[in-house]
C-alpha cells in the first residue's frame, strides 16, 4: 500500500500504545481519539473503565473528542486538510462498519500490529486445542527468530 502524503491518524481503543504502528509510521501527523458515545451507552461502560482508558490516551499525542466517530474523524481530517486517514486493525464489527463509512469519503490505510503468530495455512478455529497445535511452535519462538 502506498504511503499517505498528508494523513491524520485515528487512534482507537484497541491500540492505545505510544508505539502504535500508525503513529510510528507517520510521526508528527495530527492524531485523533474519539469517544464513541453510542458504544459507551450500548455496552454500559462503567466509570472506572472510562478513567482507565482516558489515562491510556493521555500518554499519546492525540486530540481527544467525543460523539459519532465517523463525523468526528471526517471533520478533523477536513480541519487538517488531510488527504487520508490511517489507523490500526480491530476484529470488531463496529470497526468494520466505521471503516467502510470512512472509506466512502476518504482513503483509509490500516497499518497492522506485529502479530502473535504467523500461521502459514488457514487455522482451524473450532477449538483452542486445534488452534494451539498449529501455532504452538511459532508462539514459543522469540520474535527475532520468527
Amino acid at each position: 500500500m502506498s504511503l499517505s502524503k498528508q494523513p491524520v491518524v485515528w487512534v482507537h481503543a484497541d491500540c492505545l500504545s505510544p508505539t502504535n504502528p500508525a503513529l510510528m509510521k507517520y510521526p508528527g501527523a495530527p492524531a485523533l481519539f474519539v469517544w464513541d458515545d453510542e458504544l459507551l451507552t450500548e455496552w454500559r461502560i462503567s466509570f472506572k473503565r472510562i478513567v482507565f482508558i482516558y489515562e491510556c490516551i493521555l500518554e499519546l499525542p492525540v486530540v481527544i473528542r467525543r460523539g459519532d466517530v465517523v463525523s468526528e474523524l471526517l471533520a478533523f481530517a477536513a480541519e487538517q486538510r488531510a488527504d487520508s486517514i490511517v489507523t490500526n486493525p480491530s476484529p470488531s464489527p463496529r470497526f468494520k462498519a466505521i471503516s467502510s463509512r470512512i472509506a466512502a469519503k476518504l482513503p483509509l490505510q490500516v497499518v497492522p500490529v506485529a502479530p502473535f503468530v504467523r500461521p502459514s495455512a488457514p487455522l482451524d478455529l473450532g477449538r483452542f486445542s486445534r488452534y494451539w497445535r498449529s501455532v504452538e511452535a511459532d508462539a514459543m519462538r522469540p520474535p527475532d527468530e520468527a
Partner: protein, 276 residues
C-alpha cells in the same frame, strides 16, 4: 463537531472530577475508580515484575503470581508479541514461560474467532450440553447477584470486587460465571454484559467466548466447580465466615453436582473439567 476534551490535569483527582462531569451516565453503573492506572508507563512497571515460572506454578490460586496485565493487553497498550518477548527474556529456559505464552494464545485465539464471526459472539456457538431447556435461562441478572447480596460469601465478594475494582482473578471469573449460569439459570449473555460493563480488560471476544466456554455452547461440557476446589484455590478465606457455610450449594462431589444441576444432560458425564 465536538470541542477538544481536556488533556491537562494537576493530578488523578482532577482528572476524575473532570470525567465525572463529562460522563455522568457512566456513573449509573457505579462511581468506583480502580487503583489500576491506565497507560504504557503503568504497564511497563508491571512488566518489570513479570515472573513466568511463578506464574505457571501459582496462577490458579487467588493470591498467585498473575501478571495483572490483561487490561493493557485488551486496549493494545501492550501487544501479545511484546509480552511474549518480555516473558522469554525473563527466563533462562523458554519452557518456564510456556504456560504464560499458552495463556496469551487464548487471547489470540478469541480475537481470531471474533474476526471470523463478528456479532456471532453474542449467540450460542453450539447447542448447550446442560440438558436444561433454553427458556429456563433468565434474560437478566438477578438483583441479589448484581448487588452482592446472595448470602454466599464467595459469590458476594466476587460481585463486589468486580464492580468496585474492575478486576477479577481468572478463577473467580470462572466460579462466578458457573454460579450465574448453572446454579441460577441465567443466560450467559446477561453475565457477559455485566462483566463487559465493569472489567477494565472487558473485551467482547475473550469475555463472551469464555462465558460460552463455561455455559457449554463453546465447549464439550459445562464447567462447574465445588466447594473443595474453591476452598483450595482461595485458601478458604470465604468459607470461614460464610453465613451459608453449613448450607453451601457447592459442597458436594462433582458427580453429585452434575446429577443435581444437569439431570437431563444429553449423555453420561465424563469426569468434569475443574479448570482451564
Amino acid at each position: 463537531m465536538s470541542t477538544d476534551m481536556r488533556r491537562d490535569f494537576a493530578d488523578r483527582d482532577e482528572l476524575i472530577a473532570y470525567l465525572r462531569s463529562e460522563f455522568p451516565a457512566a456513573l449509573a453503573e457505579g462511581a468506583a475508580v480502580s487503583a489500576t492506572r491506565g497507560g504504557r508507563s503503568a504497564a511497563e512497571e508491571r512488566l518489570g515484575r513479570l515472573d513466568p515460572a511463578r506464574y505457571a506454578a501459582s496462577r490458579n490460586f487467588l493470591n498467585g503470581a498473575v501478571t495483572r496485565l490483561s487490561a493493557y493487553l485488551r486496549h493494545g497498550v501492550l501487544s501479545l508479541a511484546e509480552l511474549r518477548s518480555a516473558a522469554l527474556r525473563a527466563v533462562d529456559d523458554p519452557a518456564a514461560a510456556a504456560k504464560l505464552i499458552n495463556e496469551l494464545g487464548w487471547r489470540d485465539y478469541w480475537q481470531r474467532v471474533y474476526a471470523a464471526i463478528g456479532e456471532g459472539i453474542w449467540r450460542d456457538r453450539e447447542p448447550l450440553k446442560t440438558g436444561v431447556p433454553a427458556k429456563s435461562y433468565a434474560a437478566e441478572l438477578p438483583e441479589d447477584l448484581a448487588t452482592a447480596t446472595t448470602g454466599l460469601a464467595c459469590i458476594d465478594a466476587f460481585s463486589r470486587e468486580l464492580v468496585e475494582t474492575g478486576y477479577l482473578h481468572n478463577h473467580a471469573r470462572m466460579w462466578l460465571a458457573a454460579y450465574t449460569i448453572h446454579w441460577r439459570h441465567v443466560a450467559w449473555q446477561a453475565g457477559a454484559r455485566w462483566f463487559l460493563s465493569h472489567l477494565l480488560d472487558g473485551d467482547p471476544a475473550s469475555n463472551n467466548l469464555s462465558w460460552q466456554w463455561v455455559a457449554s455452547s463453546f465447549s464439550h461440557k459445562p464447567y462447574i466447580f465445588n466447594r473443595a476446589n474453591l476452598e483450595r484455590y482461595s485458601a478458604g478465606v470465604y468459607c470461614r465466615d460464610c453465613p451459608l457455610r453449613t448450607a453451601c450449594p457447592f459442597d458436594a462431589d462433582y458427580e453429585e453436582l452434575e446429577q443435581q444441576l444437569f439431570p437431563r444432560a444429553p449423555r453420561p458425564a465424563e469426569p468434569p473439567r475443574r479448570r482451564r
